[in-house]
Symmetry: C2
Subunit: 189 residues, 2 copies
């Protein structure tokens, strides 16, 4: 006999918040979130102080999976240059999914406007970790200005994600040559 | 005697929609818009079919001024390369203003999610015009792949605007070297 463990109300709320916010925006109502999660509003407010706290928790919850899907394994034997290109190949492949709407952590910060919002702060930290990864690889790969290259790679990541997310462009034939040109300009190995 | 012409209710609504949407997001309520414009809801609905139509009209209304502030004059004697760099110098200088929150036309599309929304369609057209400008200059400047360079420049414009808009980075010391590296890689004069 197989035992199926039903996700807890907390887990269902976190999943609904992540999915619906990504699809519909941060303006999604508490009613819609609770309905999608199959949880009463009363239960929601017993688990989370506010919708803002639920949103922040859902972003935190998803961060580990998000990072694992993007970054190469530590010490995988690739060169720093290949490790950077790996990240962009991953996001390019994600962007081909029909439900892709850009980087969720960038979108939340643009939509909330308020950078002191708890969810903005979570999103800001997760994005800063990606820039830190680029910075470490740029140093390792002997880039002429690792700080500049890390900023450029973050810019390309966000710009390409945003444009693909709104359907203004796709990443195919765009993101790899752009990253390569910047790696070359920095003399990155 | 000086005669001060008071802006019409239509003009006041367009201005309020542009300003408040940029500052607070597309979720801003009709109530708040009418209050800021000093116009009754009844009058608003006599002038615009819906908030969505008001938003689309406000983006259209602002497009000419937005483009004029960014693009160089036609036939200004500069090289295509200098004309492209001019656009990025303009947006870099705009981004230093405290009220800067990124490109309004990108933000609207990210926030609305729905690319069939009338305001998304207006925003999409205005952004496509900027890409078309880059494309024409890239051709004029002998870029090896004008289509690719135009896409890259649009990506940099949006990525740098988004990141500066949320305070994740500034454009200083970032946007000019990034654009220069891509112009060089394309052999642009």
């Amino acid at each position: 006999m197989t035992t199926v463990v039903k996700p807890s109300p907390r887990e269902r709320l976190l999943k609904a918040a992540a999915t619906l916010t990504y699809r519909d925006g941060v303006g999604i109502g508490v009613e819609a979130l609770c309905k999608a999660a199959g949880v009463s509003k009363r239960s929601m407010y017993q688990l989370f102080e506010s919708k803002d706290e639920l949103l922040a928790a859902s972003l935190t919850e998803r961060a580990a999976a998000y990072v694992a899907a993007l970054l190469p394994a530590a010490d995988d034997g690739r060169s720093p240059r290949e490790r950077v290109l790996y990240v962009f190949a991953q996001v390019e492949s994600q962007s081909a999914e029909p439900e892709f709407r850009g980087c969720p952590y960038l979108a939340v910060q643009i939509e909330l406007k308020d950078q002191d919002h708890p969810a903005s702060q979570v999103a800001h930290r997760i994005k800063a970790d990606l820039t830190a990864f680029f910075h470490a690889e740029a140093e390792q790969g002997g880039a002429s200005d690792p700080g500049l290259l890390a900023r450029q790679l973050s810019l390309v990541f966000d710009g390409a994600s945003a444009r693909a997310g709104i359907g203004a462009d796709s990443m195919a034939g765009l993101i790899a040559p752009t990253v390569t040109a910047l790696l070359d300009a920095a003399g990155m190995r």
